[in-house]
């Protein structure tokens, strides 16, 4: 029992060594957040983002939305968000699953182990 636990831990160790070295700096704020204010002003100056909005709307349609729904949803986004989404919809995080219980338990064990060490 104990040795199988250790084996599991070692496997997780390997996964985490591969997966984690490129984590972002926690304290940094994304540049886009800083420039958004300027973009909002530019938008009022009629600098149009019509093209990227149409682009995002058609991508949303290809992912299962009706044209009408896609249009309404894009209208609720800021220019900065539209720019970020354009061409990236397949890659950006899409929050979904709350049922990944097993993974959660594994992570819990890992954290617990780290904290009590």
């Amino acid at each position: 029992m104990r040795s199988s636990f250790v084996r599991l831990l070692c496997r997780m160790l390997v996964v985490c060594m591969v997966a984690l070295p490129f984590q972002a700096n926690a304290g940094l704020i994304g540049t886009d957040q800083v420039v958004t204010a300027e973009q909002a002003l530019a938008a009022r100056g009629m600098v149009s983002s019509v093209v990227s909005r149409a682009d995002v709307a058609s991508q949303l349609q290809s992912l299962g939305l009706s044209p009408e729904t896609a249009k309404d949803r894009v209208a609720a986004l800021s220019d900065a968000e539209v720019t970020k989404l354009a061409g990236q919809i397949q890659n950006l995080p899409a929050g979904a699953d709350g049922g990944a219980i097993l993974v959660l338990i594994l992570i819990g064990v890992l954290i617990w182990y780290l904290v009590r060490k």
């Binding site: 949803r73 986004l77 800021s78 950006l92 899409a94 929050g95 979904a96 954290i111």
Partner: protein, 306 residues
């Protein structure tokens, strides 16, 4: 022991480390927003469920069913962050992205505001993204209280939350009623959040939030400019003139403010003042020079016959 050392080498939880044994000053030791309603998610619906919780907490009735068509993306089997923000605006609320810090979460909770966080329930290479709602914290027990998935109430230790949260860049959002500043408001970020609400059609709500922004930061260019535009949209030309006038005095180089001031003065029949402002806008140039030239032409055309 070697394994533990290796593990701690590859996982770093800087925020947990900073907060362990050092509760941020000026915060109550324990907060739990019990009144935040719980909405259970069915498969893949944590986006609509989390949103329903914070929208209802902000006084906007919503359900998983009403929000699904606004945020859920069938082809991705999930909901994008941008659309969580967009749906918040469609409810007439300011969607504000928090500073990526646990302490910011705590300060907002202490001010009575639940936050949606984006979590990765798996490892970085094979992420399983998930939204949950943080409704409380306990600095003595060093844990957060969350509503997540099928659980109406769960307690997560600092390292547990940080581990799940860090892959999203510690992404968290608030849904704020009009006229309310976040406890951790930053000028540029809040101004952009209000401008996005205005752009999405919530002009009346945005106007109230611009006013709140200006109470804290009286010279905010986006605030003054946005207030002018939303007053104009509401048909209050005098108030719009006042806001654009303040913008030009606080920011003598802001060409768009001079252009809009000129337009409002023009519509109020004050052609001489309008011309002065429009000429200044043209002089300043920049990306809005084209609009400024048109404004000036319109003013001069009206003056010409006399």
């Amino acid at each position: 022991m070697a394994a533990a050392a290796a593990l701690s080498g590859c996982i770093s939880l800087p925020q947990t480390e900073a907060l362990s044994g050092h509760a941020p000053p000026g915060l109550p030791p324990r907060v739990e927003l019990e009144k935040v309603p719980f909405f259970e998610q069915s498969d893949f619906m944590c986006g609509p469920a989390s949103l329903a919780m914070v929208l209802n907490a902000a006084g906007r009735p919503a359900s998983v069913e009403s929000l699904e068509p606004q945020v859920y993306l069938p082809g991705r089997r999930g909901s994008l962050q941008a659309e969580m923000l967009g749906a918040t605006r469609r409810a007439g609320l300011v969607a504000y992205t928090l500073e990526p810090k646990m302490e910011a979460l705590m300060r907002e909770l202490a001010a009575g505001r639940p936050a949606i966080v984006l979590l990765n329930l798996s490892f970085r290479l094979a992420p399983i993204w998930h939204y949950a709602v943080v409704i409380g914290y306990d600095t003595e027990g060093e844990k957060f209280i969350v509503r997540s998935g099928r659980k109406p109430r769960d307690e997560w230790s600092y390292p547990f939350l940080e581990y799940l949260w860090k892959d999203s860049g510690y992404w968290a959002m608030l849904a704020l009623p009009p006229g309310v500043l976040p406890a951790t408001a930053r000028e540029a970020e809040f101004a952009a959040a209000v401008a996005a609400l205005e752009q999405a059609g919530g002009k009346r709500e945005a106007r109230e939030s611009y006013r709140a922004l200006l109470e804290r930061w009286p010279d905010s260019l986006v605030g003054l400019f946005g207030l002018g535009n939303t007053e104009y949209a509401a048909g209050n030309l005098a108030a719009a003139e006042d806001a654009f006038g303040r913008a030009t005095r606080a920011h003598p180089d802001a060409a768009p403010a001079f252009n809009n001031l000129a337009q409002v003065l023009f519509e109020r029949g004050r052609l001489a003042d309008a011309e002065t402002a429009a000429r200044r806008a043209v002089e300043l140039g920049g990306p809005t020079r084209g609009e400024a030239s048109k404004t000036l032409e319109a003013i001069l055309a009206r003056k010409a016959p006399h």
